[in-house]
């Protein structure tokens, strides 16, 4: 239920907590907060920008006591509508909470506020030869708090794990404004794993205000390889061969010929234009281990007739290869006015099979589908190219997107590898989960006493038909700032 009248009535109380400069309620100011990276849309009634845990607590108490929906927001780079105010109410933007509060070199952790930008943390601790491992492609903009909400991954999570594997403890604010610590600076703790259950809960259970993250040593040696193949099938088989041989590189990415073409035109990354697919493989660790693994990978890839194998010889060349990968989504705009980006994960051994299904679907429907993959962990990002001005295109590509997710689930995979469910996929949850599964999940909101006010209308099905919901909110039109 929307209580936007109550929200307007709470403006004075919010101003008392954070000051008038940090409470926005004019339409022009609110427009910035209407979107996130997904092009989902939802206008909040008021946006409030706290600076401290106490201010967050005060704001949460107001929302709780007046039954106002409240959505915590980081940088708004999310791709599933997680930061959208689906039911109006308050958006609490944590972008002023940017302090790195403590760094322990000996115990290898940092304590940060949620608004700290992911890459800023690694840059800050780099002089101590430490870094924070989860590296979403949006790491120059996305915040640690947003990463907590979405349990974000990144190209290098193949070897090092996603956000939940790197968080030791959190100070959180519950819906009623209580401030509680889950876990701490220790690597293990007693009791229920409240930290673990709330990471990835898309802001529906708690709001994190201080986060203790694990830091890793910067590896001694890094090597980046580019492998070009004639077809997606050959590249996929090489990926299965590498993982099957027991080699887990730091990153293992794949791009098909559409992506290669777009990336080359856009950033001139040096990808071979005639190739059907390229793999970008990064190894790190001890010099000896990197060199031995690199030789083994080359031997495995030889079985699949590579068109070219190239090693980045210095950091500049490595960055150039990665620039192509990181800029590819923005570059797809050169191929079509619009695209719908799908996010699903499959067992890595099913890559050939599912990519063939996607290719068949593309042939059958006549829509080009560019494939960009975190191939090492089976995370697919097919981008369906279309033109929203053409009648029927939106309906058609939404149906194709849903069919691709069905391929993923049928292959033993899942609905989302890293973008989350949010608004985008809530109505596809029954593809994976029974009503009992979802009921057991949603009981958590009850147990955490949220009164359904924290980021309402997310994750679980709304009851509206999938097509209705998606069509209402998804006209994918991502610009160069889109990341996966």
């Amino acid at each position: 239920m929307i209580h936007n009248g109550d929200t307007l009535g709470s403006i004075d109380a919010l101003v008392n907590i954070v000051g008038a400069d940090y409470v926005l309620h004019n339409k022009a100011d609110l427009l910035v907060y209407e979107y996130d990276g997904s092009i989902d849309k939802g206008m909040p009634v008021v946006v409030v920008l706290p600076k401290s845990t106490e201010e967050v607590s005060g704001i949460m108490k107001i929302a709780y006591n007046r039954n106002i929906p409240i959505v915590a927001r980081g940088a708004g780079t999310g791709l599933s509508g997680g930061a959208i105010a689906a039911q109006g109410g308050i958006v609490m933007a944590l972008s002023r909470m940017t302090d790195i509060l403590d760094v322990s070199e000996n115990d290898r952790y940092a304590i940060v506020q949620p608004g700290v930008v992911n890459l800023d943390l690694s840059t800050f601790v780099a002089p101590k030869r430490l870094y924070y491992a989860p590296d979403p492609s949006s790491q120059r903009a996305c915040t640690i708090g947003g990463n907590i909400a979405e349990n974000s991954g990144g190209p290098h999570c193949l070897a090092y794990g996603v956000t939940t594997n790197h968080v030791l403890g959190m100070e959180v604010v519950l819906a009623d404004g209580s401030i509680v610590w889950f876990g701490g600076t220790e690597r293990d703790s007693i009791g229920f794993d409240l930290r673990g259950i709330t990471i990835g809960s898309e802001g529906t259970l708690v709001v994190a205000t201080k986060i203790v993250v694990r830091l890793l040593k910067i590896p001694e040696h890094v090597k980046t390889l580019l492998m070009a193949f004639e077809s997606v099938e050959d590249a996929s088989s090489a990926v299965s061969g590498i993982i099957g041989a027991g080699i887990v590189p730091a990153a293992l990415e794949m791009m098909d010929h559409f992506c290669i073409e777009a990336a080359e035109a856009s950033v001139n990354a040096g990808y071979p234009l005639g190739a059907g697919a390229v793999l970008l493989i990064e190894l790190d660790g001890l010099v000896e281990s990197v060199e031995e693994e690199s030789e083994e990978i080359e031997a495995i890839c030889q079985e699949f007739g590579p068109l070219e194998i190239r090693t980045a010889t210095d950091s500049q060349e490595r960055e150039r290869l990665w620039a192509g990968r990181k800029g590819v989504l923005g570059a797809l705009g050169r191929l079509a006015p619009n695209y719908l980006l799908v996010d699903g994960t499959i067992p890595r051994t099913k890559l050939v099979e599912v990519l063939a299904q996607i290719n068949d679907l593309s042939q059958k429907t006549g829509y080009r589908i560019a494939n960009l993959l975190h191939a090492g962990d089976g995370n697919l990002h097919p981008a369906i190219l279309f033109d929203e001005r053409k009648p029927g295109d939106v309906d058609n590509i939404l149906a194709i997107g849903e069919q691709i997710l069905q391929f993923c689930v049928d292959a033993g995979g899942v609905l989302s590898g890293e973008h989350g469910i949010g608004l985008e996929k809530q109505n596809q949850m029954p593809m994976m989960f029974t009503e009992q599964d979802m009921a057991a999940m949603s009981l958590l909101r009850e147990a955490f006493g949220t009164k359904g006010l924290l980021n309402p209308g997310k994750i679980f099905p709304t009851g509206a038909s999938c097509g209705d919901v998606l069509q209402a909110k998804t006209i994918a039109r991502m610009g160069p700032s889109a990341y996966v």
Binding site: S104, N106, D107, N151, C157, G161, L174, I179, V180, G184, E186, R187, D188, G191, F192, D193, G196, I199, G200, S201, K217, E220, S240, G244, G246, I247, V248, L286, E288, S289, E291, E292, T345, P347, R348, T349, H374, D377, G378, N379, G412, G413, V414, L415, S416, G417, E418, H419, G420, I421, K425, T434, Q436, D437, A440, M441, L443, L444, A447, F448
Partner: protein
């Protein structure tokens, strides 16, 4: 009815018997009936950790999950598997080793211990691959709730953010919120070569400095423990008259392994102090260290008190000094294992050899107080059997966390069917 020794929880048997279901549907149906009749149920796996946690006042049924022991799927090329929760750790290990893979969970007594019991009881392990926690290996889970409802979360892929990660709720919850019946894991490839560098020291400070320098080097220990000479003697490992030994487990491809051995030897700075052990000898030492408090040893009885402390690595020196001063003051025989990088301390004591019940309780209470003052997370994994009903085993949590845990218990098990009171006394 004669109840097997395995099902005793602090001396108490299930009053109405033991159920050993062979399918999850059978388990769910039994649990639903027991829940409807307001019975009290304890889930049991291998029974190796039933001594951990607070006492149960009484219980009606044990549900033995070891009948659910199949490998549902093992996709070696994908480095994942899905197993029933009653499978023994060693049985799974054997299967995986044929494909040169392993599950990075290293709990004690793996011949008996089950996957489900290990996860539910957050069993410690000494080998901390890349210093991660065993919960990081879980990618999906099926759980039967107290009502008998079968639920699942996660999946069989290594990267997944579809819905809440419910497995996190059940790992370490001691079966108080549901019974784990199936688990999907991500696996690791076996290292080409592993071995252990053993380094000996005359004092704990030198051992700690060595550990710290190793962790900031390019060596990447798969496990590192520091033990005192009392423990070395108990497991029959000779460190002559030296006071402490640090075992550093290293692994990798051949050249990488050798390079790491070189790094560790350099840090030790004196080859007289180090020794490399490999193969069966290395494996056997780690097995003995892991199982020490729970199995018969060459030179000592099992300890009657086991205290597990989690703290920041930099707090280890202070914590060890405070705890051992207190125990030594009472003249109690003790030994210890410390994981310098992970920040875990295990104290093993033979309390009843020196103290009566009253004095033993006093010692436990004093230990609780100093650990609370140091803000350490801790649990008494074992206390003398006659003290089980008299002391709180769990360390301190803040009131709001406890309130939330109580709310979770009430939400998922409103009739208090599953293991009531086994976690904090407040649940009783």
């Amino acid at each position: 009815m004669k109840i097997h020794e395995k099902y005793k929880i602090h001396g108490k048997n299930p009053e109405n018997g033991v159920i050993i279901p062979e399918t999850v549907v059978e388990l769910a149906s039994n649990l639903a009936e027991m829940n409807a009749s307001k019975s009290i149920v304890a889930p049991v796996g291998g029974g190796t950790r039933l001594h951990v946690g607070n006492s149960i006042e009484k219980y009606d049924y044990a549900i033995d999950v070891t009948g659910l022991n199949k490998i549902i799927s093992y996709n070696a090329a994908d480095l994942t598997c899905t197993v029933e929760a009653g499978i023994r750790l060693n049985d799974l290990k054997k299967e995986l080793s044929e494909k040169r893979q392993f599950l990075s969970i290293d709990a004690a007594l793996p011949i008996e211990a089950t996957v489900g019991g290990t996860l539910a009881s957050n069993a410690p392990g000494l080998i901390k691959w890349q210093l991660s926690h065993m919960r990081d290996t879980v990618i999906g889970m099926q759980v039967v709730l107290a009502s008998g409802t079968i639920t699942k979360s996660g999946g069989q892929v290594v990267k997944n953010v579809s819905g809440y990660d419910m497995s996190r709720l059940h790992i370490g919850a001691f079966g108080t919120l549901g019974i784990i019946t199936q688990v999907s894991f991500k696996l690791s490839p076996t290292q080409n070569k592993t071995g252990t560098v053993v380094t000996v020291f005359d004092d704990f400070e030198s051992a700690s400095q060595f550990a710290q320098r190793t962790f900031v080097s390019y060596a990447m220990p798969l496990g590192m423990v520091c033990i005192d000479n009392a423990l070395a003697y108990s497991i029959g490992y000779q460190i002559s008259d030296r006071q402490f030994a640090v075992f550093t487990l290293l692994g990798g491809r051949d050249k990488a392994y050798q390079r790491q051995v070189g790094i560790v030897n350099n840090i030790a700075n004196n080859s007289k102090n180090t020794r490399e052990i490999t193969g069966i000898e290395s494996d056997a030492v780690w097995d003995k260290l892991r199982d020490y408090p729970w199995s018969d040893n060459e030179n000592s009885q099992k300890p009657d008190l086991v205290l597990r402390i989690n703290t920041k690595p930099s707090n280890i020196m202070k914590s060890v000094a405070a705890v051992t001063d207190l125990i030594n003051r009472d003249g109690v025989k003790k030994s210890m294992i410390i994981q310098p990088g992970f920040g875990s301390i295990y104290i093993f004591a033979h309390v009843l050899e020196s103290l009566n019940d009253f004095k033993s309780i006093e010692l436990i209470e004093q230990l609780r107080t100093i650990l609370k003052d140091m803000k350490s997370s801790f649990v008494f994994e074992k206390v003398p059997i006659n003290l089980n009903d008299l002391v709180e085993k769990w360390g301190y949590l803040n009131d709001d966390s406890l309130k939330l845990m109580k709310s979770l218990k009430h939400t998922y098990d409103p009739d208090n069917t599953l293991n009531p009171g086994r976690m904090w006394g407040q649940y009783k």
